[in-house]
Each structure stands twice: as C-alpha cells, then as structure tokens.
C-alpha cells in the first residue's frame, strides 16, 4: 500500500512530523469547517492533530504546595494563605488549597482560586500556620510571606475538570436565586449554561480513544497530564470528566483565574486543552461534531432537591445563539464559561505544536467507559415541607372581615389563606391584619390582605422553607403546587417543633 492510501497513522509518526515542523495542526473550529467543505478522506490526509479547549469555572480544582521546613521545624495543623484556610493533607509542610475555600475576612469574594492565581502571577502571599508542637516539630506558630519561587513543589491538582457538557440552568420560582450557575432571575427571566460545546476536548473524542491516563495536555497556560478519570466521571451519558495535574509554577494567571459567585462562594476558572491525534478516519468524524449535535437539559434550579425538573432538551447551537424557548417563552441565555478563552486555549496549543514546543503522548491506560454517578447513601432522613404541612383555613375575597375574624377564633389559627373558586392562592391575612382592620374600621378584605405571598412547595426541604420565613420575617408559608393551588400551610411553630428552633 502506498503512503497516499494509508488509512491509519500512529502518534509516533505524528511526533516525527512535529519535530520536523511538518505536522498539520488545526483547531477544532478549523477542523469542523474543513470536514464540512472537503469531506472525511481529505481531512484525514491533510490533518495530523486537532486542538480543543475549554475555559470554565471548575470548582473541584486546587493546588498542592510544599513549603519547605522552617527553623525550628513545624508540623502544621492549620494554615491560612491570605486568610484562606487551606487543608493540611500530609506531614509537616504539605498543604492543599482548594479553589472554593473562602477567605475569612472576605468570604464569598476572595478564596483559594484567587490565592492560586496570585501565586501563579508571582505575587507574595501571606502564610500563617499553627501547630500543637512535638519533640521533633517544636514550633507552634509561623507567619511569613511566600512566592511560588520559594516553594519546593507547586502543582495544580484538579479532581474534576473539563466536564464534557453541563446543564442549562433556569429559575421557575418567584424569587431571584444565586447558584453556582450564577444569578438566576425569577419567573424564567434568564438562563445560564456552561461548557464549550463543539470545542470541548471530551466531545471531540467521546470514546476516549486518544484521551487517557498519561495524555499530555494544555493546563492553565502550562503543560499538564491527565492522571485519571475525574470524580463523578459518567461517560455513558456524555458527562465525562478528567483528573489532571500540572506544574503551576509554569502556568499563567491568564488561564487560571479566581472567581466569585455571589451567595455561592469562590471558584477558579481553568483553561484546559487537549490535542487529539487524527489516527484514523473515525477520529476525523468525531472531531467534526457540531454544536447542533450536542444536547443538554434545561434544569429548574429553584427546586431545592438533588433531582430537579428537566424542562426540555436544548442544543449548544441554540444556547450559543443567546436565547432559547422554554414553555413557549423566549428566554435569554448567557454563557458562564468563556468561549473566547476556550478558542484561545485551542489556538495556543496549536501554536505550541507548530513551534515544536509540544509533542503528543499516547495514553498508558484507558479511562473507564462505564462508570456512573451514584447518589449519597443516607442513613438519616431529613424532613420535607410535606411531612409537617397541615390543612389550611381559607376564605374567599368577597367575605366580610367579621366572618373571617370569627373563623380565626373558632379554628384558633393565625393565618387565613385567600383563595379563588378553583382553590388557587390569591392572598393571605393574619390575625394581626384583622385586628388592625377592626381598629381602623375597615370592612373590605381587599384592603388588608397581602397579595405578594411567599409560598413553599411540598417537596422542598423544611430547612429551606424555614430559612425563607426568617429571611422575610414571616411566620407561615402557604404550600402550593405548580398551578398555585393551595395544598396546606407550614408555620414557624411546625418548624420549631421538628427542627428544635
């Protein structure tokens, strides 16, 4: 067979070409265009490597630091970097700083991700540590400043990066919620999504043919390696993840950025790119995947449970268009990860290979293809609103205040819920409202009822209903279904009986 008709090539052959400066490298974006215009056969002949990239908030990231020994030596028990408490995973002076660890002085605004970014940028960071002191490690406290150059090792060590795809988040409730998918406005006024879609590394090699244990990658502006599947790796339903490691001393603060999500906490944006060797025509077809073929689910994050309602399937092409339709309504969508930076990752990796600074590695072991995510085994039940809610005393809007006052006395309740003829929630009146109406001589219920009622759902945890009552300084929440039909009521008394507060 002549070389022209060759149907496969090896990583070794590609590396020879890279070293000679002959390798043909395209970014994932360029590859898709080439396959569309010239077909699979031509693309296989012309292209040796396709570079992919993603740049998103990856909370399960962190860095392993070895400080070196102080004199006298200390076996650190607790430590802080710029007032962010870090974990102490091993002996004496090894620290692990997680991206979501929060600063004690600026909680939710500054955290582990920011500290890592500062170290990577070459900035000085303050270290404080305490210990109980032993005969071999006598010191009980240390305070100093460090830069990355002072550290023996400074490795990025991320347990779960590079999610193949992610949910699109929306909020079906009446209140703004703040989540790790960022700010979600009430009544589905916006939606957010994450992930690079067709540029995502794992989407371009979904069978893990070339991406595996030992694959050399672009990580945070430097080089790193895949050291296994990521936690919660679930490749069968296209939710693959990676565990990665790389020398943070050689990374760049442009591709590792601390982030803060209001009322959620801190995180870190990580730039990650993987070169995909085009070993056969099958990989040409895989790397030709388009956003129109990649789907995810629109999930209602206002439901405070592990399994949240799935409202529809949506493609990354629709998500990237800036608006989707949910329940017949146009909803504007924002990306949480940076598509501009994802493209920059893929382009930088391409430049490295073109300039012979980066060669490919064959995986030494394949990643599992069959793992699934199990839920937590729970040995204790927690109470939900449906466990404590009880029947509610109701009235209609045209009733006289006197009649309602009588009902409050005979039923001995403090809250009366105003409903329409189909049982849907209209408002609420309390015994206090009635007392005041009597004192002021008001006759019409419409003048005193509260119409903006804060409600609870039967399947939400009692804890979150209790939190909402405290937030709004109220003592009861009518429980309604998705059609706002009144099912019952939950009061602060119910909560204190069960949760003991």
């Amino acid at each position: 067979m002549s070389k022209q008709d060759q149907k496969t090539r090896t990583i070794e052959e590609i590396n020879q070409k890279i070293i000679k400066g002959d390798a043909q490298v395209l970014t994932a974006e360029e590859m898709k265009k080439l396959v569309e215009s010239s077909g699979v056969e031509v693309a296989f002949k012309e292209v040796d490597v396709v570079t992919t990239g993603t740049f998103g908030a990856m909370c399960s990231s962190g860095a392993l630091i070895n400080l070196g020994h102080s004199d006298p030596p200390i076996k650190i028990q607790r430590a802080w970097l710029n007032d962010v408490e870090v974990c102490h995973p091993g002996a004496a002076v090894d620290l692990f700083i997680g991206a979501t660890n929060s600063c004690e002085k600026k909680p939710f605004e500054y955290g582990g991700g920011h500290v890592i970014q500062e170290l990577v940028a070459g900035n000085e960071v303050e270290l404080r540590a305490t210990a109980y002191g032993t005969d071999c490690y006598p010191r009980a406290a240390v305070k100093t400043t460090i830069t990355k150059d002072d550290l023996n090792q400074f490795y990025l060590l991320n347990f779960r990066n590079c999610y193949q795809r992610y949910n699109c988040a929306i909020n079906g409730s009446d209140e703004t919620i703040y989540t790790y998918m960022n700010k979600l406005l009430p009544r589905m006024r916006n939606a957010t999504f994450s992930g690079a879609g067709e540029l995502n590394p794992l989407m371009n090699d979904p069978d893990y043919e070339t991406i595996g244990f030992g694959t050399k990658i672009f990580l945070g502006g430097g080089q790193g390696y895949i050291i296994g599947e990521g936690t919660q790796h679930s490749p069968k339903n296209l939710n693959g993840t990676l565990m990665v490691k790389g020398d943070a001393k050689k990374m760049s603060p442009e591709f590792l950025q601390g982030a803060a999500f209001t009322r959620y906490g801190t995180s870190m944006y990580v730039g990650l790119g993987i070169p995909i060797p085009i070993l056969n025509e099958g990989l040409v077809r895989k790397t030709a995947i388009r956003d129109t073929e990649i789907f995810t689910d629109v999930i209602d994050y206002s439901v405070m449970r592990r399994d949240r309602p799935n409202l529809r399937k949506v493609s990354y092409a629709e998500l990237k268009s800036g608006a989707i339709t949910v329940n017949g309504k146009r909803v504007r969508v924002s990306s949480l990860s940076s598509l501009k930076m994802a493209k920059k990752v893929a382009q930088t990796l391409k430049d490295w290979i073109d300039e012979r600074e980066f060669t490919l590695t064959a995986p030494i072991e394949r990643l599992p293809l069959d793992t699934v995510v199990k839920p937590m085994r729970q040995t204790q039940e927690i109470p939900f609103v449906s466990n404590v809610m009880h029947p509610v005393v109701t009235c209609m809007e045209n009733e006289e205040i006197r009649a309602i006052a009588e009902r409050i006395v005979t039923k001995s309740v403090n809250h009366i819920v105003v409903i329409d003829s189909s049982g849907k929630l209209l408002g609420i009146v309390t015994s206090w409202d009635i007392t005041r109406a009597m004192a002021e001589g008001k006759k019409a219920l419409a003048d005193i009822e509260t119409r903006r009622v804060i409600t609870a759902k039967p399947d939400e945890p009692l804890e979150s209903a209790s939190k909402r009552m405290a937030q709004h300084n109220i003592s009861a929440l009518p429980v309604v279904d998705s059609d706002r039909k009144v099912l019952g009521i939950v009061t602060s008394e119910d909560v204190s009986k069960l949760l003991g507060r």
Partner: protein
C-alpha cells in the same frame, strides 16, 4: 451625557417645573422616561455632563428630589469575557461581539437604578461608579469597549 432622576411630589406635578428649569438655564435636556400622575411623578433626564451640577441644583431649588444614578464600568483587565452579565441586562446594553468579546454600550445602560449585572460578574469586573468620576474614568480607561 449624564442621566438624572427627578422626583416630584404631589404639589409639584401641576407646575411646569421641567420647562422652567430648561428655560431659565438655557440647557437642552432629553426626557428618557416620565411617569406622572396626580400623586407625584418620576422623570429620567439626560443632560450634558458639564451642565449636571447646574441642572441638579435648579431642580432642587424648585423642591424636586434629584438623584444622580451611578454608572456602570467594566474593567477590561479583569473581565475574561464569560458573558454571565449579557442575558441579565434588561436594556440589552451588554452584548457579545463576533469575536466573542463582551461589549458594553454605555449609552443604553441605566446605571445604578438597575445594577442587576454587578453581583453576577464572577471576575468582579463590573463596578458602579459615581458620575463625578465619569470624566476621569473615561479618559483613563482605554478598555471601555465603546461602539
């Protein structure tokens, strides 16, 4: 141009306050929004930057309450172009360009009366700044990404 919010109480709504201020100060203003009824009113005006102080004190002398909304500034050094803010903006002042950069249109932005994007920026690149700093801010910041 700077935006100011004028509030009129029920005694003032029947007076030609806006016309008086315009004629007495010989300043051109644009009325961007006005909600007025017998109980009071709110008017959003756009006035030239150099006339803001004069106009604000003129309205105050006539008994109106004046607030000067702060402006939004996007710090392009901090912004990593994720786009979290885009779909939140009710007046579509923030958009994504062809090269996937975030573009901020200051003319559309209503400033601190809204501020919905400020706490949604993971890079904390969006700040609410006072109008009095506006001149300084505009000349010093090359990354404003104006149209």
């Amino acid at each position: 141009m700077a935006r100011i919010l004028i509030r009129l109480n029920e005694n003032l709504v029947s007076e030609p306050v806006v016309s008086e201020v315009i004629l007495e100060n010989k300043v051109l203003v644009a009325i961007l929004a006005a909600h007025i009824n017998s109980k009071g009113g709110e008017i959003v005006l756009e006035v030239p930057d150099e006339e803001v102080d004069k106009i604000v004190s003129a309205f105050r002398q006539k008994g109106a309450t004046v607030t000067v909304p702060k402006l939004i500034e996007i710090d392009s050094d901090r912004c990593f172009n994720c786009g979290s803010c885009v779909a939140l903006c009710p007046v579509e002042a923030i958009s994504v360009t062809k090269d996937l950069s975030i573009q901020f249109n200051k003319e559309k932005c209503v400033g601190s009366v809204c501020n919905i994007c400020v706490d949604a920026c993971p890079a904390r690149a969006i700040n609410s700044v006072r109008y009095s700093n506006a001149e300084h801010m505009r000349s010093s910041s090359s990354g404003y990404r104006e149209k």
